[in-house]
Symmetry: C2
Subunit: 308 residues, 2 copies
């Protein structure tokens, strides 16, 4: 995999580097310590923040006609509300269209973002949107709400995901919730599903220039975080960035030789090709064909004269 | 790697399971949907939460005499405060003891947890503890503060880490921040380092029974999340659990054949063994000898009659 041009580890593995050139002249460390003026920086006038958003959805190759079973919405309310729901495909075996639940859930959530009782809490939004949804089915779902002061609040049930990118790296990542491999936590029309109480809920402070990448598992099962970072920093505009991420996920998803995040996880759980294929030297590889939803939100500061 | 006893993928990879037996009888889905009584559940009387904490530190094999360069503290203030700092070893080349900065930083932070200005905000605690530290050196650092209502607030600079475990899985994970491979973000005595402003800051809601596992990179570079989950659910008591995690990290760290998280990351960044070893069929493997600090905190509810 790594060619002859690869780097060699020339320092002992246990040796950690400290910050040196080009970010700082190494020799400066030989001078007496000068404490940074921690508190003398001019007070920063905090702008109001919001998202600049691009989205892209590519349905599962076998579900192109009906548009797939993912659903999402983007709202400009407050600093911005982003949400993705992924209908659980197993319902098709029961002659239930898996798209209905996710679509209705997103429609309900979208209509409730300004609800007083929701009060800008994504977990309460999940509760109320779920309660209002009458379709049969189930879905994984993630909702992220940005307040204008930069606080991003997240509630997630299942394996939709969110990454926050800052300074060329992923500084925050959600973790999928599942009952067992490929059976995620899910809001359901049935009593056996999860509720808003099972949501992973967290919040973090965003700053201008941060980028969030949200999506269904069709994105994160097929694209590595490092590829997401690479695309986000190569493509400045959010809409082409969302399309490029969805295109890459789609391309990997149907590549039977690709060592995808999904298949690496499957192998680590003990899944494998049948014995006769193993004897032929084959291993489990490939992407995961799926609906792919990508939302890219860049944090921008609002020109705002009316700020309190 | 996977023996003949491994599972085989008997369903198409693109097929997601929905929740079925043993968690629920699959056939129940054939009956008419019964909406769960979302709001009729009895109001839960919320107890005050705090941590039951176990810790364990194993110094780098070459630094046993002086105790290594990690430092940590645990405070019972409010719901509990946990902190780890990892002195950056590169300072030894400048004849500076890398342990001094991390130790002083932790001592200062520990003394400031009740500070009015800190007001239970770990980022402000970082700011004030850093400003009060006069030793030369630098350190990565993570602070987690639990409020009695269950809100866990985290501030982290660099590659110390934290995992939250619930229902047998990692539901939350911090991401390391770095300038380049093995050069983490760090609070420093020098002006070229990072400040509290560079911290990854987030908060999430914990519930009784959750477990948090915090540590220096000596833990997370040598132990996979799945191994952490396995130990936490096998060993009920927090102190032996922390020791077991540190022992496993220590054992992996000196195992030159182990495919550690650290070495997998190194290979993915293009590091490799020298060409002559490659020709002999060798690949880069091994753990990462390092100071290893582990803090395990289990969320328990306090018997409390004086609650407002």
């Amino acid at each position: 995999m790594v060619g002859s041009s690869s780097l060699e580890l020339i320092t002992p593995l246990s040796q950690r580097f400290f910050l040196s050139s080009p970010l700082t002249p190494f020799k400066s460390l030989a001078f007496p310590s000068k404490k940074r003026p921690l508190f003398s920086a001019p007070a920063r006038i905090r702008s109001e923040l919001s998202f600049s958003v691009g989205t892209h959805l590519i349905p599962h190759p076998a579900k192109v006609d009906k548009g797939g079973e993912d659903a999402f919405f983007v709202s400009g309310y407050n600093g911005g509300v982003l949400a993705v729901a992924d209908g659980v495909s197993g319902w098709a075996e029961k002659n239930v269209d898996p798209a209905l639940f996710s679509q209705e859930l997103m429609a309900n959530a979208s209509g409730l973002v300004t609800d007083e009782e929701v009060d800008y809490n994504p977990q309460i939004l999940l509760r109320k949107a779920h309660a209002a949804t009458s379709s049969m089915g189930s879905a994984t779902v993630i909702i992220a709400m940005l307040e204008k002061n930069g606080t991003l609040k997240i509630a997630s049930v299942g394996d939709c995901g969110l990454r926050v990118l800052r300074n060329g790296q992923v500084i925050f990542s959600t973790q999928p919730q599942e009952h067992y491999f490929d059976c995620p936590y899910q809001l359901s029309s049935e009593i056996i599903g999860q509720t808003y109480r099972d949501a992973m809920v967290c919040s973090l402070e965003l700053i201008e220039g941060d980028t969030i990448v949200m999506g269904s598992d069709g994105l994160f099962d097929n694209v590595f975080d490092q590829e997401i970072v690479s695309i986000i920093y190569r493509i400045d505009d959010v809409t082409p960035a969302a399309k490029a991420l969805a295109d890459l996920a789609s391309s990997h998803s149907t590549d039977t030789d690709f060592d995808s995040p999904y298949i690496i996880e499957a192998r680590s759980r003990g899944f494998d090709v049948p014995l006769w294929k193993k004897i032929l030297g084959k291993k489990l590889t490939g992407g995961k064909p799926d609906d792919i939803t990508v939302i890219v939100g860049r944090v921008v500061s609002l020109p705002n004269d009316s700020r309190a």
